[in-house]
């Protein structure tokens, strides 16, 4: 017969100070782990939500990224008439030839300079990216030296409000709108008209990349293959989702550092939990013996104590999650290994992160509780009763 759970709950309550201190120790470790996992989850979200499964990105063959690409504008009409491309609001094929450059802007708080991506696009470029929503002002107009900036660009750089002018390329650009890209990689970009931009950077007659909108995800796959297989074009098609998924590797250093830190802290906390559980066992020696006399089996005692340790860890995990919740959505930036510009992302405490945190804490509890529980179950009844 199993020992009732309420027995463990009451024991934890009885030794409040000890329980709280140990749980807090576990909570701190969990907090660190959550922080690191939330960083990675935010980064992942920035890249995963950027791609649209209907969009095909066209690059020069052999080029890995938009920045290192570049192909002749003469190829563009051929791309435009490929089958499987969706129609835009004017009834034309929905395609956008684009130029991407990286410019250097000083941070608002004066802590140095940051690389920012500027993307010149055709009017269809906006239709291709329905996830980007205009929240203030208006979109840029073709043929005008106007830019729209993302929400995070506006908040992090000076002179990026509507009506301001930004200096890059060969002159000044007027900020006419602000868009919200919903935490995607576009959140770190400035958008403008492709022709204006190409002339500023002496890049007329070519594009660094082109975006094609397929009628549906299956057509997108076919379109991608058609672009890559066409010998005349010497271009390569990739699904936009795949392109961004690959960039998540920018988070690799954070991941490795995070794993090392979390493991070292977890080992330390497990020892602390073990200490607490050993103390609990030692303190209740006579009680355990009495339970055995009453007929509770050794496995029942073992399970009960392991369970108590797990309960303690669970408390710690919950406290850790609660401690970290206020930081949910906090923004930070890291360098994108593919575009050489800063990518902005926010801490994301997702359900998956919370689940991992709980599993992580339970593992600590299990490790910390197993040996003391084993010790408790193996006590000699008679000596324990006398002690």
């Amino acid at each position: 017969m199993a020992i009732p759970i309420s027995y463990n709950v009451r024991n934890l309550k009885l030794r409040k100070g000890l329980t709280v201190m140990t749980a807090l120790g576990i909570a701190l470790t969990v907090t660190t782990a959550i922080f690191l996992m939330a960083l990675l989850a935010g980064l992942q979200k920035a890249f995963v939500s950027s791609g649209n499964s209907q969009n095909v990105l066209v690059l020069r063959k052999g080029s890995e990224a938009e920045l290192s690409g570049g192909f002749d504008a003469a190829l563009f009409p051929t791309l435009k008439v490929l089958p499987g491309i969706a129609k835009d609001s004017h009834g034309d094929p929905m395609v956008s030839g684009e130029w991407v450059v990286v410019i250097v802007l000083p941070r608002k708080d004066g802590t140095g300079e940051v690389n920012v991506t500027v993307r010149g696009m055709m009017p269809d470029g906006l239709e291709l990216r329905p996830s980007a929503k205009l929240i203030e002002g208006r979109w840029f107009q073709t043929g005008q030296r106007e830019v729209v900036v993302s929400k995070s660009i506006r908040s992090r750089f000076s002179r990026a409000n509507i009506g301001d002018t930004m200096e890059f390329g060969k002159g000044s650009w007027k900020v006419v709108g602000v868009f919200d890209a919903g935490g995607s990689a576009y959140e770190s970009e400035i958008w403008c008209d492709v022709n204006q931009m190409a002339s500023d950077f002496d890049r007329q007659g070519g594009y660094s990349s082109a975006y094609l909108r397929a009628t549906d995800p299956i057509a997108a796959d076919a379109l991608k293959n058609r672009v890559s297989d066409d010998q005349r074009l010497k271009l390569e098609g990739v699904l936009e989702t795949d392109y961004y998924a690959k960039q998540t590797s920018s988070g690799a250093p954070i991941k490795y550092i995070g794993i090392v830190v979390a493991i070292i802290m977890a080992i330390g906390s497990s020892f602390a939990a073990m200490n607490t559980m050993y103390a609990a066992v030692a303190y209740r020696g006579r009680e355990i013996a009495t339970l055995r006399v009453l007929g509770f089996s050794r496995p029942a005692i073992l399970t009960s104590f392991v369970f108590e340790s797990l309960l303690l860890a669970m408390l710690g995990a919950l406290a850790g999650i609660l401690l970290m919740l206020p930081f949910n959505g906090m923004q930070t930036g890291t360098s994108n290994a593919v575009t050489f510009s800063e990518v902005v992302f926010s801490l994301q405490i997702t359900w998956a992160v919370a689940m991992y945190a709980i599993i992580f804490a339970l593992a600590m509890g299990l490790f910390g509780g197993l040996f003391p529980a084993w010790h408790a179950a193996r006590q000699n009844i008679l000596t324990a009763l006398r002690g």
Binding site: G17, L18, M21, T22, L24, G25, L28, T29, T31, T32, F35, L67, S68, V102, I103, V104, G112, N115, P253, I254, V261, I264, M265, I267, G268, S269, F271, A272, M274, N275, T276, Y278, A279, T332, G333, T334, S335, F340
Partner: protein, 383 residues
Amino acid sequence: MTLGSFVVRNTFRNKRRSLLTMLSISFSLLLLTLMMSIWRTFYIDQGPPDSVKRIITRDRVSLAFFLPAYYRDKIRAVPGVIAVVPMTYFGNVYKDDRSTNSFAQVVTDPDEYPKVAADKIVPPDQLLAWQRDRTGAMVDVELAKKFGWKIGDRLTLQSPYFPVHPEVTIRAIYTIDPPVRSLIFNTKYLEESVDWFKGQTGWYLTEVASPRDVAPVSKAIDEIFRNAPQRTKTESQQAFQLSFVSSLGNVKAFILCICGAVVFAILLVSGNTMAMSIRARTREVAVLKTLGFTRPRVLSMFVGEAIALSLAGGALGVLGATLLIRWLTHSPVAIGIPAGMRVTVPTMLASLVVAATVGFISGCLPAYNASRTNIVEGLRHIG
């Protein structure tokens, strides 16, 4: 029995508890020492001995964009410049993709390179042989040891950035402390085999007359290219290396957060243990007081016990961190760990001071409570 030995004996009375507490504290302090060493390597260290006089000029946006070769003579003309060499990162792959075989391969101008890298010690005859052979290469002595290379050996290199497989001959082996583990060969050899690379270079490494010249010369160089097709960014070698770190995000805050969490965690663990061990000894405290031990005496005994315990844990943690870092810097698995990273004596002392302070704080409250116990009640206490 002296007070000291009494404290030490009491500390290890409950061996399992003391051991667990020590282990717990030692892991936390291992992490703290590791973080402090990383901080020191990134933000305090001056790098290789001569690097204070070296500056690096690169494309303003990114190292990924090459600079024109004619920039070199313009940089040379700046007052205060002693020597300037073009440098390009060829790659870090050797034999296969495994990171254990990875080391940095760069190309430069061998004739002028010794002037900017005087801290790389090379036998003069080997240097001459390297400068005379266009396909020659110079390697770090540690690297040569690792792969068993000798002068005259031929290697085939490969690169993720250049579509060639140049074959180089080892002509010189250099020594530098801390080791750099790189292979350097002639930029002209690369230009001959890669057409589009002609007249370009990754960055410029410049030696200035004195450390005082670093800031004005850097500024002067950037000023020259202000209106050039490619603007430049010039900074000290130290700042250049730091820029790789800062691209990861707010590393400083990151490290501080972890350190804070660690210190707080040890405080909890140590405080917990002290509370447990003191409560179990209520009757003993009463006996001590009956024997005439004063309150301050009792207090100092328990606080001393807490300090002894956390110091022991701290020492263990520092030792662990030292071994871990030594292993990391010598292991081929961990790439990106600066070879010069080590736990210095000040870092060790800082960790131990943190341990002792935490022990002191955590011992205070339980010890204060114990010293206040009423003798009669204490004697009656059933632990």
